[in-house]
């Protein structure tokens, strides 16, 4: 049987930097498995279990099939084979075998924070593109209506549905439930969610952004750019914007705050953004693209580190520095940041 443990992957040139941590992880995994009484798996260096569609992963009946596999009858030997349906790495969790594809469409799960774009307005709901196989639905009843959270939805709201969200608007929302066909129903019933403005959207592979404790990262930028907020949608859409001024104007009650918030909440008008802030927003976008390309997990710590290195690289005044961080330059910046992070 040719199954090996697949560890979190790193691109070749970053591998030496991470060797220590990976080896530790591997030893831990190995020990855990021995304790469980599982069969010890071969995991020598360079042992990569990559399969292509149609390839038999195993014929051993002790495994359960997971995502990216299907069962097919073995015509010669009898019994059932687990066969891969996607190209990717074999992963095993206890007795569950799955194949993780390199890139796949985003599959929504309840509780995911996603960034989406309105593609269609219907009478009582919106259709939102969240980079998955099906457009998701946002019901009129699952948004914060202006004038207080506890207000009932009326037919007037239905008639002026476009004043809340219209075609092309960007929003941040949470997946509330899933339909039978795997498409999602969203909600924005929190002041954290809602319409997005004052920034720009970048699209990366949904595999580049992983579920974390907090999907919203706040960065203090260099060069007088001020505070910038990054919303890392699990679906691979990332929103980078100037952080809103949330300082309360005067002492207000809770209800008053709600009213003030809801007045501005559906505004589509952008504030004036200083060129310095725009430049830093663009730089953060390039950092995220470079991190995803280098297969590096995008979280608050790493993003801060990579951004710092990118600013330094630009400050060193090398005229030929590629500010877009495309190709080699991006890889170099990410490698330096990673090395610093590992304390090397």
């Amino acid at each position: 049987m040719s199954i090996s443990i697949t560890r979190p992957s790193t691109p070749p040139s970053l591998a030496p930097l991470l060797r220590t941590s990976i080896n530790n992880q591997q030893n831990q995994q190995q020990q855990e498995e021995d304790a469980d009484g599982d069969i010890p798996m071969v995991s020598s260096a360079g042992d990569v279990s990559i399969v292509t569609p149609g390839e038999v992963v195993t014929s051993n009946p002790q495994w359960m099939r997971g995502h990216g596999t299907y069962l097919v009858e073995d015509r010669e030997a009898g019994g059932m084979n687990i066969v891969a349906t996607v190209a990717g790495t074999v992963q095993k969790v206890n007795k569950l075998l799955s194949v993780r594809p390199l890139k796949a469409r985003y599959q929504p799960e309840i509780g995911d924070l996603v960034v989406g774009r309105i593609v269609e307005v219907q009478s009582k709901r919106w259709k939102v593109d969240i980079n998955s196989a099906q457009n998701s639905a946002l019901l009129l009843s699952s948004i914060n209506l202006p004038g207080g959270i506890l207000r009932k939805r009326t037919s007037t709201d239905e008639l002026q549905i476009r004043t809340f969200f219209s075609e092309g608007d960007l929003l941040v929302a949470e997946v509330q439930s899933l339909f039978q066909d795997g498409s999602a129903s969203l909600h924005t019933r929190s002041l954290k969610y809602g319409k997005l403005r004052n920034g720009y959207l970048i699209r990366v592979s949904s595999r580049g952004i992983q579920r974390a404790r907090s999907q919203v990262v706040s960065l203090a930028t260099a060069n007088g750019g001020g505070e910038v907020e990054v919303v890392l949608g699990v679906n691979g859409y990332v929103w980078i914007a100037k952080k809103a001024n949330t300082a309360p104007t005067e002492g207000v009650s809770i209800t008053r705050l709600e009213e003030e918030a809801s007045e501005a909440i559906y505004s589509s008008k952008n504030d004036f953004i200083l060129p310095a802030t725009r430049r830093e927003i663009a730089r953060i976008g390039n950092c995220i693209r470079a991190m995803v390309r280098c297969n590096l997990r995008v979280d608050e710590d790493m993003l801060n580190a990579v951004y710092e290195v990118a600013v330094e690289a630009a400050d060193q005044g090398e005229e030929n520095v590629d500010a877009s961080l495309e190709g080699e330059e991006g890889r170099r910046v990410v490698e330096i940041a990673l090395a610093r992070k590992m304390g090397l």
Partner: protein
Amino acid sequence: MAMADRRRINGPTGATVPPVFLEQTLALTAPRRAPDELRKIFLKTSLTPPATGSAFLELSAPSTLKLTASVYGPRPLPPSAGFSPHARLSAELKFAPFSTAGNRRGYVRDALERDLSTQLQVALARSVKTATYPKSGIDVFVTVLDCEGSIDDYNTLGIMQALAGAITCASAAIADAGIECVDLVSAGIAAAVGEQGSLVMDPSPLDGYDVKAAALVGYMAGRDEITLLWTKGELNIEGGDFESVVDKAVEVATQIRTVLNEAVKERVLAVGGVNS
């Protein structure tokens, strides 16, 4: 100038002479391959950034076949399409205007492209797990950038080679897109040539064989299933000639499958699969 067509971008007024190239003589000078020798294939995935998955295929010289495939989806179908519990796979094969030697081809889809598109769809549809993606559409677009010689004179071998390349390339693109499929499809061609009807694997129109009959198969090697069969010419079915040609084509497809597997694997290795 009153008669100038305002709807289109007009060319410059000064006339230029188009370059005239000499007739291609590669076919005559190229050494003939052994009958059981396949041409080398260059196949690379993920070369079209906006597409969900894509692939490029090229055959080694003297062959000039070059084509790209891009896959979009699974994406939601328009409401007018109605309900479908499975994903709908559509395939379109297009010859670029500059793909043929000699005369340029028109832009408008002609009967040949329509026919090949349908065959491509049939060859691929069997391999994709459409039940995984309800109410969705998967669109496959193949553009033939360069053919082997001209195809206007109903050069069947050239058309077959283009379709075989399209099937293999599109299957690589589908795998690259991360769409679930039961198996990959590779396509192979074999022909019976000359008076004796001796079998030739992967015949090219540039080889100058006197082709009696040819067969193209779309083949899923992992499952041992044929998804598409296209034969042309006169063969004796009772004598087993037909079967031998088809078997030979399956053999070609099996060999091409190894290239397909490598190309799909290469991308996973390069980007995300290395763990040591």
